[in-house]
């Protein structure tokens, strides 16, 4: 372990005037940042602000065009991440870099194998891992297979992996995005214990609540530039959000009282299987009325995906029934359900939502290319398709050079706007939305929320599934918590608290033991 730190509060990492350009975009423009020993420095910014690019340079994955990086006062120029690791820098990526079929110990020593002759010395490795786990309060079982671990546990493995390589500077890229509220609290404790023992942490996030909870200092990036630095005590959510977006942000979603009508979506005793054949929707009942937003909260992997896909006809139900607009739709295909007036904003944008190689125009008619308006006697009416596309692009404020642009060239937020534009137009009776704002910036989130509420006010029944509790709380009229494939409880949104929902999400019960 590098013991360079006689001066307890000196800077361990200094980034000065870093500029990095990619073809067509300056990702970082003269960015400077200092990380002191034992501090948690939050790097805050919208998607595409250049946070990950900056950190990838510190970790040796990219090389800056200009500027210097100093580690413990010494200027460095990393050729690859191996050199960064050798300097005591560790990075936990948003997408874990673990091999699911290997054990925890095997994953941790991978690339840094302890050997006895030609053989792995797993015993020594196990002992070292246990010692690290104890020291930092990171409970991991070295012999567990990584594929069997929960997301929170896998994240701990990633942390131990970095610590195993003697990292004192830890870069955590959106570490809480995948955690439940309870896991987030545990995670913050670990972070505290790490800094308590002299580690320094850069914490990349766009969640303001967390920034204020853990950060010592905050650097805000916007469009590749540093637009502000603050200390946690001197900042508020509002001030940070305004810095991030560059204008005043309205947090509360303004909406009128719901005026619910008759039930439009009625799900009874629904059962369905996930891709591995495990039953993840286990007898679920839910009813969504016209003119209301029913929010489904829950830790990911409790059957959200299968519920949405089964309701929308993409996945067969193995039991129970779905009724929409008074008709039984169990066993119907996606097109039949869609033609009934049920739209679906899918959870997985790139897998289901768009065809990446298609133009914006083709993506905007992806599920209605065959309508009379766009196709006559089997021949596509390109003029009508383009006209419709231009109108939707305008209406939904999609930022694009034109409707002929390939959708893959757009940012995630604009791609999502294309999907939303496609799904939210037409004669809708019901809308099923899954994770509508995942990974989007504040501006796009506001816009999409407003559109969903507009629909509700027009009498559309909205079933909203989201992993963001804040989103559920601010949009929904009623909230159901999904736990192990069924609703553990339903509450009026007006009466719901984060604590109550968090408990339901974690245990499936209100009160009682956790």
């Amino acid at each position: 372990m590098a013991q360079a730190s006689g001066n307890a509060a000196g800077p361990v990492l200094e980034i000065e005037g870093i500029t990095k350009a990619f073809p067509g975009v300056v990702a970082n423009d003269n960015v400077s940042l200092t990380l002191n020993q034992g501090e948690i420095h939050c790097l805050l910014g919208e998607n595409g602000a250049g946070k990950s690019t900056l950190m990838n340079m510190v970790f040796g994955l990219y090389r800056p065009d200009r500027g210097t990086i100093r580690v413990r006062g010494e200027q460095v120029s990393f050729q690859d991440s191996g050199e960064a690791i050798a300097r005591g820098i560790g990075m936990v990526h948003q997408h874990f870099q673990l091999i699911p079929v290997f054990t925890v110990a095997e994953n941790i020593i991978l690339g840094n194998e302890i050997t006895k002759g030609a053989f792995l010395d797993l015993d020594t490795a196990r002992r070292q891992i246990d010692a690290l786990a104890e020291r930092y309060g990171l409970a991991v079982d070295p012999d567990a297979t990584v594929g069997d671990l929960s997301v929170g546990e896998q994240q701990r493995v990633e942390l131990v992996k970095a610590l195993f390589r003697d990292a004192d500077i830890l870069i955590l890229d959106e570490p809480t995005a995948v955690l439940t509220p309870g896991e987030v609290d545990d995670f913050f404790e670990v972070v505290d214990s790490l800094t308590g023992q002299g580690k320094s942490i850069i914490f990349i996030t766009h969640k303001l609540r967390e920034v204020l909870a853990v950060a010592d200092r905050i650097t805000v990036l916007r469009a590749g530039q540093v637009v502000g630095t603050a200390t946690a005590d001197g900042a508020t959510q509002q001030s940070l959000a305004n810095l991030m977006v560059g204008r005043d942000v309205v947090f509360r979603v303004d909406k009128a009282e719901a005026d619910p009508g008759p039930a439009v979506i009625r799900v009874q005793g629904l059962r369905s299987l996930d891709d591995r054949g495990v039953e993840t929707v286990t007898g679920l009942d839910v009813e969504v009325r016209a003119g209301e937003i029913f929010g489904i909260a829950g830790v990911e992997g409790n059957g959200q995906r299968e519920l949405v896909e089964t309701v929308c006809g993409m996945r067969p139900a193995t039991g129970g029934r779905v009724e929409m607009l008074g008709q039984e739709t169990t066993g119907w295909g996606p097109r039949q359900i869609n033609e009934l007036g049920v739209a679906h904003v899918p959870e997985n944008r790139s897998k289901h939502g768009v065809v990446a190689q298609y133009t914006i125009a083709d993506n905007l008619v992806l599920n209605r290319y065959h309508h009379r308006k766009f196709s006559q006697r089997g021949v596509r009416n390109t003029a009508a398709i383009n006209a419709e596309a231009r109108e939707l692009v305008e209406q939904f404020d999609v930022r694009t050079p034109g409707v002929d642009a390939v959708i893959d060239t757009l940012s995630g937020g604009n791609q999502q706007k294309v999907i939303v534009a496609r799904e939210l137009t037409g004669d809708l009776k019901a809308l099923v939305v899954a994770q509508p704002t995942r990974g989007l910036d504040v501006g796009s989130i506001e816009f999409i929320h407003r559109k969903i509420i507009e629909l509700r006010d027009r009498g559309v029944a909205v079933l909203l599934v989201s992993a963001e509790l804040d989103e559920i709380l601010s949009l929904s009229d009623r909230i159901g918590v999904l736990y192990r494939g069924r609703l553990a409880g339903t509450v009026e949104a007006a009466d719901a608290t984060r604590e109550e929902l968090g408990l339901l999400m974690a245990t499936g019960a209100t009160g009682g033991k956790s």
Binding site: Q336, N348, K351, H352, V354, A356, L366, N367, R380
Partner: protein, 386 residues
Amino acid sequence: MNGAKNANAGISRAASQVHRLLTEAWRLQPLYVSLYAILLSFVVGGVLISIIGVNPFTAYWALLRGMVGGGDEIAGSVARSVPFIGSALALAFAFRAGLFNIGAEGQLLAGGITAAYVGALSWMSDLPGIVAIPLILVAGTMGGAIWGGIPGVLRTKTGAHEVISTIMLNSLVLFGVRWMVNSRDPVVLRDTESTVPRTDPISDTAVLPELVDSQPTLHVGLFALLGVCFLVAFVLNRTTFGFEVGTVGLNPHASHYAGINVNRVIVASMAASGAFAGLAAASEISGTNGFFQPGTFFLMGFDGIAIALLARTNPVAIIAAALLWGSMLSGAPLMQQEADVSIDVVRIIQAMVLLFVAADAIVRYLFRVRELDQSPFKATSIEGAV
């Protein structure tokens, strides 16, 4: 007056369609790599030829004259190329649907044997040519479509990968027809009066009219296959069905989400692919051979893969690629005669063309071509497509 106006509008609409298809065809940018790959292969082939002690220019000059040296040579080259168009389309169409159909070899045999069987039916001679010829072509097309559709059905019902099942179906039909045509006891389809194994000759009424008495015969089947190329271009680029095929090929998950019947598209695309091979085989049976021999289509399906990839699965570019392929084979004998360079050298050059197109990084590096499009050969894109 009104009528004239309508006619004018009709003509201008048709003209704009033609213009659109042509610009599509000549939008050669993605074909640079193919052109350079051909050039590079001839250069390397030239080096090979000089190593065996022959002046490559002498050899290539003979090859070129064999290909296009005169009216007969040109006609022969075109005739040789015609069936390749069908076998290349068989790969190209399926590829748009994200399927790697390497069963054109078998689909040609299935179409050929069906066409030969139907063409030799006793009542065919009672029919006029205008009925008999379409009938034999349709029969071959159907034979190919069924043989191509089977792997599609297997894929959708059982998940069997079409690469594996088409390879197996190739063997199945190859040995199946070989037995049918060889066997004397029992006689299945063998012409017992012939000393070589082949089917009964087809009825005279089912023979496609000859255009040029070249070697091999250039017949009207040329127009059928050219027409199919433009038809396929139109279907893929302009129709609702083509949109479904392309969508399934690029993202089957999104297709399912958008309500496209992915299984139906897969089966239809495989059947259509097989149909193109079947049509090519039928037009050869009807226009050139007059009977079926198992060796007739040897390697033609696999050459189709090379041609389709050389044309980057663009149906109109396939015409040019097939012409190049066929005329090289047609010109090779003259090279052997005059320069004493084996016909196999042409085969080697063709193999190199395919290799350079597949390993397009080499060509891109040598000729400084930027990566503009996705290569249909890259393992990753094939992986992504299926």
